[in-house]
Symmetry: C2
Subunit: 335 residues, 2 copies
């Protein structure tokens, strides 16, 4: 890396999303998720599961061996199944999962088993042998976040449709990289508005504390940008066992997010709020006027490479990028 | 049947449970569900899915063909997978599913995909060929009630542990057969207390109305007897899209059932009620004193054989069997 021979750029600038460190290299197999209404294709890598995963500086033999298995076995097996079944409707799975206690970001227990259940028969049919079918289905079914990456790409394909609309104050990208938090706004083109990435208020896995935590990291906050995740927490009360707090906090977070969003989602609804649509489309004017920053559900990575996820919680995102964006908006549009 | 050569008796008298008409013949493969704490084994047939299914008088070629496929292919394939994996923990699946919007009776969307996801890798590994693995996994995954039958047998194995306890006023069996509703009470041995089976307040599938409805039918009310189903409705707000009403009705039903039950469940909890245990153990004294009859979530069968399920709803069970049981209790124990 020090040699400068490897070029880096944010996933979002390649229509990609990656959870946590989000490392995607040119040789990796990716999911292709298409917004068919708007003809937008987005991409994500395959979820590696908990424990030791790839990050900058984290490339132990264990990590590399798993990645090689993912490239040689998992990826091609899923690819054959997806081709045989003609693809999966990610939005339909998400809509159903929100009625099954998922928030769509930190809790994807339901979506991941729905995903596994849809893929499994086609994996059994098309895998090169029954041992490969066994290990592929088991890996997908045992990982409660196996659908996270295609969900993120799906969310990006939704928010990307709203980008570059003249005069729009809607946020179309939020992302963090462990150092910075950045925002893009529909009517403000490709400019990033950034601040230092925050520390997450988290419930830590046994043996870890806040002293182990990396600052907030990953592209997965694209889910909140699209109206799910922290914004849909009211539908996921059981999530508090994983991130801390009580079920009422979950409802309050969703209710707060209605204050800063433009609309209620047509497809993603919350049974306990009488099937009200999730708060969708963060409006920088509302964020600044009401001084309510968006909140996200998120995983927490260890500050040192090679350890992996150490907890999960809720993070209040920094206010200044939204304020800076509103100033830039006033400059550009003369309000 | 008219010849009298075929002998009938209730599933419950053979430690069995069957949904709707609940026809189980000696040649059928059954699930074996064991309460390991108490060494009680219960049994259920395999779920046939929606549409045309076996009932008294309903044995069209389509029904028989499916049953033959279930006996020759589905059953043996599931059996091999269950043996390879050493069984499935039905109670653990239920506990998780109650945090995923299932009530455990009428809505088993989550439990059925968890069940399918656990079985699928072992089906892929042990099925006689990949086509058999494909059709078996697909049948389980497409049927939102695929786990209903083992859940019912599991519930029976729980309530059976409470049966025949001297002096106990707890209900250990409730069942309906389309004509009668019957109750057994722990301290009153093998006596049935019965009344006419009620009509269900239901939301009907397109094309059907209450005029098509059979009176309340099936052993599945063993779920309410064990503290889930209608008793756990507060955890399943999305169920109202299937049975009618609004999410508040679901919460109110659960709250009412606390009035007539002995305890709160240790393993089955309701996130939205701050993880309170489900109301468990119907006490005939409380039912009669408060004049609150148990309520059940249930499917509705067509009154004519051969049509299958036509709707789903909530039924308030008749009061008189609980009153009759309390009189019998007073007679027996001299209170």
């Amino acid at each position: 890396l020090k040699s400068g021979k490897i070029e880096f750029s944010p996933c979002h600038e390649h229509m990609c999303t990656g959870p946590m460190a989000g490392v995607i290299s040119p040789s990796m197999l990716v999911y292709v998720v298409e917004n068919q209404t708007h003809g937008i294709k987005c991409f994500s890598n395959l979820n590696e599961g908990r424990g030791k995963v790839l990050r900058m500086g984290a490339y132990s033999p264990e990590v590399l061996e798993k990645l090689r298995w993912m490239e040689s076995t998992l990826g091609p097996t899923i690819k054959a199944a997806l081709e045989a079944m003609g693809g999966v409707d990610v939005r339909a799975i998400l809509a159903k999962a929100l009625h099954m206690g998922d928030d769509g970001h930190n809790r994807l227990d339901a979506a991941s088993v729905l995903w596994t259940t849809q893929l499994a028969p086609y994996i059994a049919k098309t895998a090169k042998d029954s041992a490969t079918a066994f290990e592929t289905i088991k890996f997908l079914g045992d990982n409660a976040l196996s659908i996270l990456n295609p969900v993120m790409a799906g969310c990006k394909s939704m928010t990307a449709a709203a980008h570059n609309i003249e005069g729009s104050t809607i946020v179309t990208i939020m992302a963090r990289n462990g150092t910075d938090f950045g925002v893009k706004v529909s009517g403000l083109g490709d400019q990033w508005f950034t601040a230092q990435s925050p520390i997450v208020k988290a419930l830590y896995f046994p043996g870890f504390t806040e002293a182990d935590a990396c600052r907030d990291i990953g592209d997965s906050v694209i889910t909140e940008t699209a109206g799910i995740g922290g914004f849909a927490m009211a539908t996921a009360p059981a999530l508090v066992t994983f991130i801390g707090g009580v079920p009422k906090d979950a409802i309050n977070t969703t209710l707060d997010m209605y204050e800063i969003t433009h609309t209620e989602h047509k497809y993603f609804t919350i049974p306990f709020l009488d099937f009200r649509g999730t708060p969708t489309g963060i409006d920088i004017r509302k964020v600044v006027e009401k001084q309510i920053a968006p909140r996200a559900n998120t995983g927490v990575a260890h500050k040192d490479p090679g350890v992996g996820q150490v907890g999960a919680g809720v993070v209040t995102l920094p206010m200044s990028p939204f304020e800076d964006a509103l100033v830039a908006y006033a400059d550009k549009y003369g309000f």
